[in-house]
Every structure is written in C-alpha cells, then in structure tokens.
C-alpha cells in the first residue's frame, strides 16, 4: 500500500460533508502524544471515525465506505472486516462486487487470514455460481506463489463446497511440469485422486499414478515429495507396495546410478521391513555404494551405515532404523506365515 502517495489525494474525513455529524472516538490504550508523520495521522483519523460508526452500530453506505478505507490502511484488522460483513448483510449488497473488492485488496496482502476468510464468506453467499471465478482467483495467486497455503486451502474448500473438479488433475500436472518439487501440488494431486467424484478413487487410479510418480522420481531422485506420494498410493496395502516391480525397479536404477540415492535407500528400508526379498542386483548395487566392501553382510546394516555417512544430520534416525528394521521384517514374515500369504 502506498499510503504516502494517497495522502495528497485524500480528503480528511473531518472535511467530508457526509461524515459531518460523526464524532470520532479515539483509541483508548494510552496517552496520545504528538505524531509528526502524516500517514499515521490518516490512519488515526480513519480508525477514530470507524470506531464511532462501530460503537453506534451504524450499517449504512458511509459505514461501508469507512470499512473500505480502514481495510486499505490495515487489512489485518479483523474487527473492521467483521463489521463490514454486518454492513454488507444489512445493505443486501452485491456479492460479486464484493469479490471485485477483495481482488483489489489481495495484492501485497495475500498472506492475510482475514482476507481469505472474508472471501470464503462471500463465495459461500454466492453458491455454486462462484466456483469458476474462485478457481480462477486461486489460480492467479498460485501463478505467483505456487505453494501459497491460503490459496490451496481456499481452492480445496471451493472444490468440495462449490464443485469444479473436472480439470483439477490436469492443473496439478501443469504445476508439477513447472516445478516437480512443488509439495503443495503433490498434495493436491492426492486430494483429487482420492476425493474427486469424477474419478474412480485410489484403487482405479493407482496404476497410472504409480507410473507418473516413478517418472518424477527418475527425473529428480532427491525430490522428497514423489517418494512420499508413492507410499501414499499404497497406504494400507504395503504388500502391494512390496510386490510392485516398478518400485523395486526404480530403486535399483537409482542405486546403480550412484547419484542422489538417499531417498532410494530409505525406500529400500521400508520395503525390507515389510518382507521384501531383494534381488542379487539390488544387493550388489547397495554394496557398490559402500566403502567397506561389505559383501555378504546384513543388507540393513550396510544400507544404514551408508545413510549415516551421507546424511549425518539425521544419523540418529538411521541408527534407530538399523536396529528396528530387522525386527519389523521378522514380524512381517511371522504374520505372513500365520495368514498363509507368500511373497
């Protein structure tokens, strides 16, 4: 907000005839010393007039105008926003025009909770007709900051409350094409795959999603998000994760390439603790990464030693896994034995 520039154009409220009968109410939280800076004068005057209207509970057009000015000076002031909603309701205001107002305020203030909450209230009033506009609105914000938490939260609310799922998966794919590391886009992808009424649900989508995810992993094996997404696709079905040849295969490729292999090793540990029987190629790929020429040694121990070395910040975590994975793997075999399941 360029308040100083506006100061020269602004007519003080004390000089506007439409506010002549309003007696401004000063802030009551301490002494009022002399303030030399003009923009603080403008702020004080606006808030003093707002307080008068607020205390009188006047829900008129001039009250609406005052909230507009107060919000422009300080969009974080939630009391002003709340009063504005009361005024809008009383005036039975045009909610589409209100969306225009928020469009105008959001630049430079997009991390402000009040603005997003207000936007949602307005959209709720408009109903499903607002769906397209709201998806466009969040798209604009996300085009400047593709991980904007408020925008994603609003977008998810819009889809569930007002609809508009048709192009959402495509939108996620576009964002990931732009930045494959965008965790918010991966999260949204999961949201769409699991909740969209137009797709078949996780079961129907899993195979194609695994293929996409594996491709993303191959592009950048150091990317945390697709590895987590892959685990998410097999939530509650770890046997299927262990059996999927695409998963073992991508781990092998990365370990063989000897580059950015931390997440691949971590995935291998997850597979092992769910009863995965590693091939000779995988074993050799792991031994190939180890300095100590650990042929024939316990694979879990070798994997964890490598991880402790290349990811020392999380050394304690890898030490813990070294201890626990064998026990988990043994338990898994025992459980399979009990249920008659074979890998």
């Amino acid at each position: 907000m360029d308040v100083l520039q506006k100061s020269s154009e602004r007519i003080p409220l004390s000089q506007r005839p439409e506010y002549a009968d309003v007696k401004p109410v000063p802030q009551d939280d301490g002494p009022n010393p002399i303030v030399p800076i003009s923009y603080t004068d403008e702020f004080r005057e606006t808030m003093d007039y707002f307080r008068a209207i607020y205390v009188a509970d006047e829900r008129s057009l001039r009250a609406l105008q005052l909230t507009t000015e107060a919000i422009k000076l300080n969009p974080g002031n939630y009391t002003v926003w709340q009063f504005r909603r009361l005024v809008l309701e009383a005036l039975n205001a045009d909610m589409n025009k209100e969306l225009d107002f928020v469009d105008g305020i959001v630049e430079g203030n997009s991390k402000n909770y009040q603005i997003w909450h207000h936007r949602r209230w307005v959209a709720e009033n408009l109903g499903t007709d607002a769906s397209t506009r709201e998806l466009e609105f969040t798209k604009t914000i996300l085009s400047k900051d593709a991980k904007h938490y408020h925008a994603w939260s609003h977008r998810q609310w819009v889809l569930q409350a007002l609809g508009g799922w048709k192009d959402e998966l495509t939108y996620c794919e576009l964002l990931l094409k732009d930045d494959i590391f965008n965790n918010s886009a991966w999260n949204q992808r999961y949201f769409v795959v699991t909740r969209s009424p137009l797709l078949g649900g996780l079961g129907a989508m899993r195979e194609s999603e695994v293929t996409c995810t594996v491709n993303a992993i191959m592009e950048h094996p150091e990317n945390e998000s697709p590895w987590r997404y892959l685990r998410g696709l097999y939530r509650n079905d770890t046997h299927a994760l262990v059996k999927d040849p695409q998963v073992a295969s991508v781990c092998l490729k990365i370990l063989t390439a000897k580059n950015n292999y931390v997440h691949a090793l971590s995935m291998l540990l997850d597979l092992l603790c769910h009863g995965f029987q590693p091939s000779l190629e995988i074993r050799n790929a792991v031994y190939g990464l180890s300095d100590s020429g650990a042929q024939g040694s316990d694979l879990v121990k070798v994997v964890c030693s490598i991880l402790e070395l290349v990811d020392p910040m999380r050394a304690n975590y890898w030490k813990w896994r070294r201890n626990i994975v064998p026990a988990q793997a043994a338990q898994c075999l025992k459980d399979d034995g009990l249920t008659g399941l074979s890998l």
Binding site: Q27, D28, D29, G30, P33, V35, I37, Y39, T40, F43, R44, R51, Y54, N74, G76, N77, Y78, T79, Q82, R85, Y113, H117, R120, W121, K147, Y149, W152, S153, Q156, W157, F181, N182, N183, S184, N187, Q188, Y190, F191, T194, R195, E224, S225, R228, Y229, R231, G232, R235, P312, M313, R314, A315, N316, Y317, W320
Partner: protein, 321 residues
C-alpha cells in the same frame, strides 16, 4: 546422552533482547505498533513469555498489563486483540497464557470464558475461531489448550474434537488446517499439542511423523515448514516442540539448529529475525528464545512444548505451588 558444548555455538545476547522487547512494548506510535494494534494481545504473550524464559518478567508492570488486558474482554467472555476489538479464540488463549505467567488466572470468571470457548465447537468436533465460522485446526488447538489451562475440558466433546483432528492427518503422518490440506509444521504443532493435552497421542504415527519432521532440517541447520521451502526461526518452535512431544527430538542435529538460531540474532540492537540478516520482530524473538529453551541452551527457563509456557507456570497450575 550427547552432552553439547554450548560455548562453541555462539552467544545469546540476553540483555539486548530484553531491552528490545521492553522498548517495542513502550513504543505505541511506531508504524509497526500502530499496524499491529489489533493483535496486541498476541504481542503481549510473545513478549512476556520471552521475558519470563530469560528470567526478566519482573521488569514489567504486572498490574498495568493485567488491567489493560481485562479491558480486552468482551461481554461474551472471549477476548479481542486489543480494547474495542471483537472476541476471538486466538486472543482468548493469549489472555489466559499471560494471566498464567502472572499467576492471575483467578482474575477471570472461568466459567464465562470456558462457555465462550465451548460454544465455538461445531457438530463435527472442529472449532470456529469466532462467530463468523472460520474453521482451522489452529482453533482446535487453541480451544483445547485454553480449556485445559482453565481445567474445564469437560465443557467440550473431547472425543469429537480428537476425531476431527485425526481426520486432518495426511499420508505423510503430518496434519493440515482442514481434512486434505497439505501437512505444515505450524498445523502439525497445533494438532500434536491438542492430542498431547487430551491424552490422544496414540493417534499419531510417531515414527512416520518424526521422520517427516526431522527431514525439515536443511543444510544450514535451520528448519523449514514444508518440503522444499526456506528455513525460518519460527519452525524452531513448531517442528521442535512437535518432535519433543512425540519423543523423537534426537533425530535432528541439535547443535546445527542452535547455531542457526543464534545466527538470526541482531546482536547490536537486540531481537531475532526469521533468517540471518533479516529484520527482527517480537514474534521471531519469542520463537527463537523458546526454541533455544527446548534445546536446553544454558541459562534459560524450561518451556512446556504443548502449552508454550514455562514449565514452572504449568506446574503451578496443575500441581499447585
């Protein structure tokens, strides 16, 4: 246990930070102060808790603060961010926390405040921040912490509250603001603290979440809030306290984190910023000092990871003097 050599990591400029806090609290006409006027109650909590951790709470006029704060209370029982502002759960918690620091919770009509808070629970167990209905797991946390400190948790449906929080659990073990929303360290703190206080931590997959949380530590030693984002001192609180509550804090490199926080100080003028060399503010000063307390930096009072109040304050409430 790994004994850290704190002397190698740098110095915390305690006196400068105390001076910084006392100065900004007095400067009611600085631009920042004027613009933050409506959240003054949050600011009071950050400032006063920091002073208490640094052992300097007695430098503040307790009666002046309490008397101002009680004027922020609305007839509904809730507190607004400053005098004349509408009530909201966020400021209600800050008020309760500040009164707890001064051992003045009995200044409240406890039933009135609890009824205000309980009245904001929705049918699905979630909480709205105020009468306007915004729902967020932040508000679940704030409501639960408030009622726990007032010993009135029985006024809400705890089971439903827990179920709502659990519905916000994601495939990575983390939590978002609403069901399906991306895991975010701030939201994770809110959910884990609420679950901790209601004895419901068994709903957390501690190994999975612990791993997600320890992956927040980046090369510089600082912590980010989500994958591929920049580190920020405030995550030294949210990630760290979450790790402590699920008993996995040994999975990060504590020494590197301490160095990062200390690097974010303005050693000349006092205060701590979000990243080294950035401008300081009271919010990050609080999170930096609180984070250091969790990391057992010497000379600081211990802080409770769930209630975000000094441990002696929490003990006074739950176990008497």
């Amino acid at each position: 246990m790994n004994m850290l050599d704190y002397s190698r990591m740098g110095e915390l400029a305690v006196e400068k930070h105390v001076k910084f806090i006392l100065t900004i609290e007095k400067e009611k006409d600085s631009f920042e102060s004027v613009v933050m006027e409506h959240i003054r109650l949050n600011g009071a909590y950050w400032a006063l808790t920091t002073l208490d951790i640094l052992g300097k709470l007695n430098t503040v006029d307790q009666d002046e603060v309490v008397s101002w704060m009680m004027q922020c209370q609305h007839e509904s029982g809730g507190f607004g961010g400053n005098i004349g502002h509408d009530p909201h759960l966020l400021y209600t918690l800050s008020a309760i926390q500040v009164l707890a620091l001064f051992d003045k919770i009995d200044a409240l009509d406890i039933d009135k405040v609890s009824n205000y808070i309980a009245g904001l629970q929705n049918n699905d167990g979630s909480f709205s921040g105020d009468m306007w209905g915004e729902i967020d797991t932040r508000f679940s946390c704030v409501a639960i912490l408030s009622l726990a400190l007032l010993k009135r948790l029985d006024k809400i449906n705890v089971e439903k509250a827990v179920n709502y929080i659990v519905s916000c659990k994601n495939l990575d073990g983390g939590f978002g603001c609403t069901p399906g929303a991306e895991s975010h360290a701030g939201q994770i703190f809110c959910c884990v603290a609420a679950l901790a206080v209601t004895g419901s931590l068994h709903h957390v997959d501690k190994d999975l979440l612990g791993w997600w949380l320890c992956e927040r530590q980046v090369k510089s030693g600082g912590l980010n809030g989500r994958p591929e984002k920049l580190p920020d001192v405030c995550y030294s609180w949210w990630v760290l306290s979450s790790l402590i509550m699920i008993d996995r804090v040994h999975w990060i490199d504590k020494e590197k984190l301490i160095k990062f926080i200390l690097d974010c100080q303005d050693k000349e003028n006092g205060g701590i910023s979000d990243q080294p060399e950035d401008a300081v503010d009271v919010f990050h000063t609080y999170f930096g000092v609180a984070g250091l307390s969790l990391l057992e930096y010497p000379g600081l009072k211990a802080i409770d990871p769930a209630y975000a109040l000094p441990v002696d304050v929490v003990n006074r409430i739950f176990f008497g003097r």
